[in-house]
Amino acid sequence: MSLRTARIVSLVVTVVGAIVLLQNATFSWLGNQQGYEPVQPIAFSHKIHAGDNQISCLYCHSAAEKSRVAGIPAASVCMNCHSQIRKDSPEVQKIAAALSDNKPIQWVRVHDLPDHVAFNHSRHVSAGIKCQQCHGPVETMERVAQFDSLFMGTCVSCHRTHREVTLDKTGKPVIAKEATPKRLMASTDCSVCHH
């Protein structure tokens, strides 16, 4: 075939390919906060707490079991340990200060779903979904960054597969081969999240 035809064909292939490959990118870049990693008022390291010291997520984010929100621990909760441990660390000092002069710590929100999305932590936690599936390997993060795009597609794909979700050693979610018992069946009704 002539050079011109070749050019046409190749161009078509490239464009179509690009659209298919980058589908997500093509239609999703607006307002995507994936990778958002704001500097926090206190250099709190999840790596040290959840990673090295193996503190359970739910110790601080205790509401996650009972409520739609996971909750940010009150300064007093931090002091449960830090009244003994590393009292002198400047970062811990900040907390102590906050407690003493009764000024709440203003954390910068990392994971922020739109107001028209009602995500319920308690349901997912008690269904056995690992925090890491959406939040990523937080226990390895010095400063928390948004791991997933948290687009509707993410939720839906998981709700569709109705499967037990486990994490491999790198913290990547793995969807089990066989379907799990009913208690883990998830609904894809719009009203489950949008009301």
Binding site: W29, A74, A75, H194
Partner: protein
């Protein structure tokens, strides 16, 4: 947002360029795979976008973890008492993240059960009313509590030394502790007196019982025990004394669900169409004069038929204004009453001692005392003493009153002689207002010590003797306000806070001495109520001495009224006495009878309108010589030609931004006569001004035009099983296989026989679902947003107007016509039979609304204001606030469904029947609404779906709605 720290890393790499931001807007994953095509494609747009990235959000946790039961994001319910009016109904306050967002009925409350009225639901909005005073005021200057306390104490001490009258003027107070506090406060002074003033008073009942039974009290009326109710213009379902309590009893006695085949009978003699009258089995349209004469005639006949000896004035009474038909009606009524001796109830709405005396006579003759009328458990819900008020005004004008403290009253607006009051008020050297806002009266006070909202403060109530309820603060005061009891305590030199006073009072006076206080206290707090079991006592003896004179006076009164135009003043179900005029939820709630919002009006009968060539909305000048006001006319079928009905509670000037200058103030028509306020102004004249306005009404067509929308039977037909006849089209044919429903299939049944049209459901829904208020202009354009519509249809001619109510909300049709036309799948069906509306997907073609047979969909024509930061605190965080251009509608309170589903799943159990209650169902005083799971064969809803009265709206369309109705039954034949 300030990008500095956020994008630091990249700024180090290269100085400027929007592409820097682009890198971060792009998903990580995509970046690696980005090709050059994509880059050129997006960098331009990204440049534009750099500006509109999601703004930085802060999370502010608690300093110290609050009490154990608190979890962010989880709603908690606290038992409390509604402070909306003096009825003091039991309520549950839903608190979310530390702020009360909704009032619900407290089903543990002995009087009101789970019921609440419309006003109660609007109270949450009042808590967040930004027109409330934010701190105490000295005149019009802001002050601190210490300052005002100091000055007030100083002046009071002065009065203590020099003596002089100190008056505390309050609305009805049902709180025993508060009364004690006021008592304590007044004992400091040589001449201290507490005066209770109700703008809309029922003092006559108390005075009448003082005359006939020697007890100045309002008895408790047992509408649930009465088999036959005869009411002379008493709107006991709408506004009279304790509507919620009465509605509950009324509907219990008329409940035909679950195989019951008997219901009480209700006969109403009235001149204007009241809510109670609209529900009557037999409604007799009478003029005020005829009303009085029918009452007298009834007394005569009842006495005769019961052999009760009656004073000559009654025994010899011959009606002069009653036409034969009416006489016959009264005769029949008398027969029915006598047949049901001891199980009947006669009430009158007139605030006229004589009328009430005669009513007592009849009830006594019928032996209803002890059965349906109980003086041993009197109601404390209306304590207004009209004479005392009149005396106070006199004292003030005479300059005798040294100090006046007002709380919860606004006489400068709602006293019939407000000029007299204000002139006297001006003469009082120390004027203290404890009202929450700078209203008409407070505006002229020396000090305003704003009281906290009842949701911010401790209190108790004893609406009926022996029945106590507590109310507890559900949020710390938003502003620098203080419970008015505390103010009084301070000024009595008592530094305790009211909470302790309350506990001590209960310890001393209410709980049994030997009881374990804390245990009882906690139990009462939890349930919200505490009752003292009374040993049955005999009713006080009846003394007929005054009946004769009463009858004579009534006759002459009837004469004066006869054939003349009379202005009949009344309270609207929503606006009541006008205290809550600044509440837009109430202003926009359509009146159940007229369906008009944001206005009061002069209701005239069609005949009168024709005579004066009035059209709906043409402005008229109503006058009785002394008073003249201009109002638009509303043509009301079922109203007597001699009557012009005008609602009080409008024409406020100092209510606030929502309530000012809406309608006209009708209180000046009130008169003080024979020891009570009279709400009938006779010798009225009415003339057309030529002007004309358009009402903001939500229903413009008032008849059924023979359409089979409402099914209605007589009790006889129902008993003989006619209700079951006719269609069962819901099992109609389908050309394709229906979708199977899984775990649940939500459905609802509305009992039209129970629904009284009180409209509480509309506001409950509004509060629960963040339904916006759109304002008078938009309602005029027929754009109100309420998710529940209370359709009201008139049947029959003007003589025997019958009224039916039908709550219509989204029916969640299985074959929803709205779904198939939505281009973007913004409304589709859930696996649980819900018709889901996804606001964030909606593009607003309005096709669904056009294609909805029930017209229950509502469109956001504009961005409705949410700029009042304080008012926004009333929003329910579980429900999306809809933006401009999207469709919305009833969701069966899907947020509640999801909440309970999640709860049940987390607890690894099935959802219990009745566990999920929709907002409208929860607080329906008549329990007309039942919601449940139709998959569950045992569920109550399923059970009712098989009731013989069950029918669906527009079955011919095969929409398969999940809502069905239970036909209305009228107990027409004489018992």
């Amino acid at each position: 947002m300030n990008g500095e720290k956020l994008w630091k890393i990249f700024q180090q790499q290269d100085a400027d360029r929007d592409s820097v931001d682009l890198v971060n807007i792009e998903p990580r994953a995509a970046m690696s795979r980005r090709t050059f095509i994509e880059l050129i494609g997006f960098s331009a747009a990204a440049a534009a976008l750099a500006g509109c990235r999601a703004p930085e959000q802060k999370i502010i946790p608690f300093i110290t973890q609050p009490m154990a039961e608190f979890t962010p994001g989880v709603g908690l319910f606290y038992a409390s008492t509604c402070g909306g009016c003096s009825a003091s109904c039991g309520a549950l306050v839903k608190v979310r993240d530390g702020r009360p967002i909704k009032l619900e009925g407290n089903d543990l409350h002995p009087l009101t059960g789970g019921g609440l009225c419309a006003v109660a639901h609007a109270m949450v909005f009042e808590l967040y009313d930004s027109d409330r005073l934010r701190q105490p005021m000295r005149g019009s200057q802001a002050a601190t509590w210490d300052e005002v306390d100091a000055e007030i104490k100083k002046q009071l001490d002065g009065i203590k030394q020099n003596g002089g009258k100190v008056r505390v003027l309050t609305s009805t107070i049902t709180s025993p502790t508060t009364l004690a506090v006021i008592e304590k406060f007044l004992t400091q002074f040589t001449d201290g007196k507490h005066i209770t003033y109700d703008a809309v008073s029922t003092a006559a009942i108390r005075k009448a019982h003082l005359k006939t039974h020697g007890r100045e009290a309002i008895p408790s009326y047992k509408f649930d025990a009465a088999k036959l109710i005869v009411s002379f213009g008493a709107d006991f379902l709408g506004t009279w004394i304790a509507p919620v309590e009465f509605t509950r009893g009324y509907s219990q006695a008329r409940n035909l669900r679950d195989g019951r085949h008997e219901m009480s009978r209700h006969i109403q003699f009235e001149s204007r169409l009241t809510l109670a009258g609209s529900n009557a089995d037999r409604r007799v349209k009478v003029s005020p004069a005829e009303e009085i004469e029918s009452l007298l005639l009834l007394a005569k006949l009842v006495a005769a038929k019961t052999g009760q000896q009656a004073p000559a004035e009654i025994a010899s009474f011959n009606p002069t204004n009653l036409n034969p038909r009416l006489q016959q009606v009264v005769e029949q009524t008398a027969n029915e009453l006598v047949k049901l001796k001891g199980a009947s109830l006669v009430v009158s709405g007139a605030n006229d001692t004589d009328a009430q005396v005669v009513v007592n006579f009849i009830n006594n003759a019928l032996g209803n005392y002890g059965a349906t009328v109980d003086l041993n458990a009197p109601s404390a819900q209306k304590q207004g003493d009209d004479e005392a008020m009149a005396e106070l005004v006199r004292e003030m004008n005479a300059g005798e009153v040294k100090a006046l403290i007002i709380s919860g009253v606004n006489p400068a607006y709602d006293h019939f002689a407000r000029n007299e009051f204000t002139s006297g008020f001006a003469k009082v050297p120390l004027k203290i207002s404890l009202n929450p806002t700078r209203d008409e009266t407070s505006a002229n006070a020396d000090f305003i010590c704003p009281q906290s909202h009842f949701l911010e403060s401790w209190n108790d109530a004893e609406p009926r003797r022996g029945t106590f309820s507590l109310s507890q603060p559900t949020i710390a005061p938003l502003f620098q306000t203080r419970a008015y009891q505390e103010s009084l305590l301070r000024w009595s030199g008592d530094e305790r806070n009211f909470y302790n006073v309350l506990r001590e009072h209960w310890k001393e006076n209410i709980f049994a001495k030997d009881a374990n206080f804390d245990e009882l206290w906690d139990k009462s707090l939890e349930s919200g109520a505490y009752t003292i079991e009374r040993t049955a006592a005999a009713q006080p003896a009846f003394a007929s001495s005054d009946v004769g004179n009463a009858a004579t006076r009534l006759k002459t009164r009837a004469m004066t009224l006869a054939g003349k135009l009379t202005v009949a003043l009344y309270e609207k179900i929503l606006m009541r006495d006008g205290a809550h005029a600044n509440n837009p939820w109430l202003q926009e709630l359509p009146d159940p009878i007229t369906k008009i919002t944001w206005d009061n009006y002069a209701s005239v009968s069609p005949a009168l309108a024709e005579k004066l060539q009035l059209e709906e909305g043409s402005v008229v000048r109503v006058s009785n010589g002394a008073t003249t006001i201009e109002l638009p006319a509303h043509i009301q079928t079922g109203q007597h030609d001699d009557v012009i009905a005008i609602a009080v509670g409008y024409g406020r000037t100092h209510a606030g931004k929502a309530g000012n200058n809406i309608g006209a103030n009708a209180y000046p028509f009130v008169s003080f006569d024979n020891g009570t306020f009279q709400y009938l102004a006779n010798g009225a004249s009415i003339e057309k001004t030529g002007a004309k306005i358009e009402f903001a009404s939500t229903q413009r067509h008032h008849t059924l035009d023979g359409r089979p929308i409402i099914k209605e039977f007589t009790l006889a037909e129902f008993i003989s099983g006619h209700a079951g006849e006719g269609e069962r089209e819901r099992q109609s044919q389908s050309i394709w296989k229906d979708h199977a429903y899984g775990e649940h299939k939500w459905g609802m049944v509305v009992d039209l026989n129970a629904c009284t049209g009180c409209s509480a459901c509309i506001l409950s829904c509004q509060a629960e679902n963040n339904v916006p208020v759109v304002g008078r202009e938009e309602v005029r354009r027929q754009r109100e947003m309420h998710w529940i519509r209370l359709d009201r249809y008139f049947e029959g001619d003007g003589e025997t107007t019958k009224v039916v109510y039908q709550p219509v909300m989204c029916a969640q049709c299985d074959n929803a016509s709205c779904e198939s036309v939505c281009p973007v799948l913004a409304t589709v069906h859930s696996s649980e039979g819900l018709n889901m509306q996804v606001y964030n997907r909606c593009v607003g073609t309005r096709y669904c609304a056009n294609n909805c047979a029930y017209k229950v969909r509502r469109f956001n024509w504009f961005d409705y204001p949410h700029d009042d930061e304080i008012a926004n605190l009333a929003l329910n965080p579980d429900v999306t606030v809809r933006t401009r251009g999207v469709m919305e509608k009833c969701t069966f309170c899907v947020q509640r469904i999801e909440e309970k589903k999640i709860l049940a799943r987390n607890e690894g159990r099935a959802i219990r029947d009745g566990e999920i209650q929709t907002a409208c169902q929860q607080s329906c005083p008549a329990q007309a609404i039942t919601f449940g799971d139709l998959v569950d064969q045992e569920s109550r809803a399923n059970h009712l779906k098989h009731d013989e009265r069950d029918y669906i709206l527009l079955p011919e369309l095969n929409l398969r709605p999940a809502i069905s109705y239970l036909a209305k039954v009228r107990n027409t034949e004489e018992a």
